[in-house]
Symmetry: C2
Subunit: 312 residues, 2 copies
C-alpha cells in the first residue's frame, strides 16, 4: 500500500456564501485533503498543527478513517488558525475578512519516521519556508511531490516560494494564481512558463469549468461535474489535491495517463465538497458515491468516436 504524506492547515473557518453563514466550523487545507485521500486505498499521514480549542472528536473522526495523525502537533495553550471569508453571488469571487495565524506561528513541521519515505507528498498551502522544511526531512525521493500555494505567498515570500517550486514535480494553481506567478494572461502560456521553473507538471484549476493538466507529454482538459447547487466553495482545491493523490496511490506507477484519470477523479470528488458548508458533505460520502458520480460524469462527457478518430 502506498504512503501519502500531506501537509497543510487545520483551521476554524467562518464562511458566508449566498446560501448562508457557516458559523465557526472545522476546516483547513490538510483536513480537506486528508478526507479526500482517505476515500482511496493507501496509508495517509498528516502534517499540521492545531490549538487546544480544536475539537478532539473531530481529530478522532480523522483517525477513525485510518488517517495517521502522528505528524499533527497540538498546542494546548494556543488557538487554532482562524479564517473568515465572504463569497459573492458569483462564488468565483471571495474576500478574506479575517485571518488569525494563531498557533501557525509556532509551527515547525516534523515528519514522522514512518512517512519519511512517502510515495506521494502534498505540500498544501502553507508558508513556503515550512514547505521547504518538510521536503528537507524526506529520506527517499518520492514518486510525486505536489505543491499548492496562493497569491499571498507570491507577494510576501516570492524567493522562498520559487525555491520550493523548483523542487516539486507538480504545481497546483488556479487561473488567477497562474497569471500572477508568471505575468502571462493566457493559461497555456502561464503553464509553459511554470514548466520552465522546475515542475514536470502543472494543473490549472478553473473552478466550475474544470481543470487542465500540462506536462511534457501534452495537455489534458476535463470539464467539472455540473452541480445544481454549489453552497460553499471552501476546500474544493484541497479536496481536489487529496483525491488526485489518492487516486494515483492505487496505481503501481504514476504516468501521464494515470494523471488524466486522477484529474477527472479529483474534480469529481471536489464537486461533493462544495455541495454543503465545510467538510460536512465530504465526511458523508463513500467510495461508492464517488464511483457513481464518476459514472454520471463519464456518461455526460464521453462521446462515441467516429471511425476515423479511433486511432487517436
Amino acid at each position: 500500500m502506498k504512503k501519502i504524506l500531506l501537509a497543510g492547515t487545520i483551521a476554524f473557518d467562518e464562511i458566508t456564501t449566498p446560501f448562508g453563514h457557516s458559523g465557526r466550523i472545522p476546516g483547513g487545507s490538510a483536513v480537506y485533503a486528508a478526507l479526500a485521500a482517505s476515500l482511496f486505498r493507501n496509508k495517509t499521514g498528516m502534517i499540521s498543527v492545531a490549538g487546544g480549542d480544536f475539537p478532539s472528536v473531530y481529530l478522532q473522526m480523522l483517525e477513525d478513517r485510518g488517517l495517521s495523525l502522528n505528524g499533527v502537533q497540538i498546542f494546548p495553550n494556543e488557538k487554532t488558525f482562524y479564517w473568515k471569508g465572504f463569497y459573492y453571488d458569483d462564488m468565483n469571487r471571495r474576500d478574506t475578512l479575517v485571518t488569525r495565524e494563531n498557533v501557525l506561528r509556532k509551527f515547525r513541521p516534523v515528519v514522522p519516521d514512518g512517512f519519511k519515505n512517502a510515495d506521494i507528498v502534498i505540500l498544501g498551502n502553507l508558508h513556503p519556508g515550512i514547505q521547504t522544511e518538510i521536503l528537507d526531512q524526506l529520506t527517499d525521493r518520492p514518486e510525486l511531490v505536489m505543491l499548492d500555494t496562493m497569491n499571498y505567498w507570491m507577494e510576501t515570500a516570492p524567493r522562498l516560494l520559487r525555491q520550493v517550486i523548483e523542487r516539486v514535480d507538480l504545481l497546483l494553481v488556479n487561473e488567477e494564481e497562474a497569471r500572477q506567478l508568471t505575468g502571462k494572461t493566457h493559461p497555456l502560456h502561464a503553464a509553459a512558463d511554470i514548466l520552465e521553473m522546475g515542475p514536470r507538471y502543472v494543473i490549472v484549476k478553473q473552478g466550475e469549468y474544470g481543470a487542465a493538466l500540462f506536462g511534457e507529454e501534452g495537455v489534458f482538459y476535463t470539464p467539472a461535474y455540473p452541480l445544481e447547487i454549489l453552497r460553499d466553495p471552501t476546500g474544493a482545491g484541497d479536496t481536489f489535491a487529496g483525491a488526485f493523490a489518492g487516486h494515483l496511490s492505487e496505481y503501481d506507477a504514476v504516468g501521464f495517463e494515470e494523471m488524466k484519470n486522477a484529474l477527472v477523479c479529483g474534480a469529481n470528488t471536489a464537486s461533493f465538497t462544495v455541495e454543503d458548508f465545510g467538510t460536512r458533505r465530504l465526511e458523508q460520502i463513500t467510495r461508492e458515491d464517488l464511483e457513481t458520480r464518476m459514472r454520471e460524469f463519464i456518461d455526460m462527457t464521453r462521446f462515441p468516436l467516429q471511425e476515423k478518430y479511433k486511432s487517436v
Copy 2:
C-alpha cells in the same frame, strides 16, 4: 445528400479587439454559418439580404464553395446591414458601438422551392418575425430546426420570440442569454426551463470553456479547443451552429449520440474562426484541417477508462 437551409444576416462588420481593428469587413451570421456548413457533405442554401455595396466577389466565393444563394436578395440601392463592436481585454465582454439595420428593414424572406423540404434548418439571429415567416414557408417537417437569438429580441419582441421558440427543436444560447430568457442563474435550471418552452434540445455555449447540450436523453458537456491566440470572437456562435448542422447532415438519422459528436465538432470549427478577424481563417481551412484539430482535441480530452467504468 441532405439539405441545410440557413437564414441569417449578411453584414459589414467593424471590429476592435485587443489585437487591433478589422476595418470594414464582410460578416454576418448567415455567412459564418454557411462557410462552416460547407466543410461538410450537404447542399446548403442561404436565406439573407445584402445591399448593392456588398462585394460581389465575396458572394461569388460563397457560390464557389457550393453554397446556394438563390435565397439571398440583393437590393442595389440599399446599404448592407452594418455592425460596429468593441471587445474588452476579457473578450467575453463586448460593447456594440453602432448598429445600422439598413437593408434588413426591407427584408421579407423567400425560401427557394428547392429548400422548402430542407432536412436541417438554422434560423440564425434575426427578428423573430422573420424567423417565423421562414418556418411558415416550409412544406415538410424538417428533421431538426435550430434557433439562434440574442438578448436584443428578448427585450424588444419577447412574445414573438416565445412563439418561435415553441416551434423549434433546438435552441442555441450563451450563459447570459439563458439567464435572461428564464430568470434562472444556473445553466442547468435555465436549460430545464427552456425545455419546458418547447424545444427538445438546448445548447448553452460557454465561450472559451466549451458548450453543453441538454435534452430528455440527458446532458453532454464538452470543453473548447484551447487556443493560444484568440483575435476576434465575432462569428464563433454562428460558425458553431453551421458546423453542428453540417456535421449532423452527414448522418442518416439525428439522435443524441450524433449530437454529442456534432457539439464537439461545432466547438472545434469555431475555434478556427476566432484565430483571426472576420471570416479570414474560416475561409482558409479545409476539412483536413478540421479533422486534424479534432484529433488534437480528442487526444487532449479523452482518458483511458478504468475497467469498472467501461460499462457506462
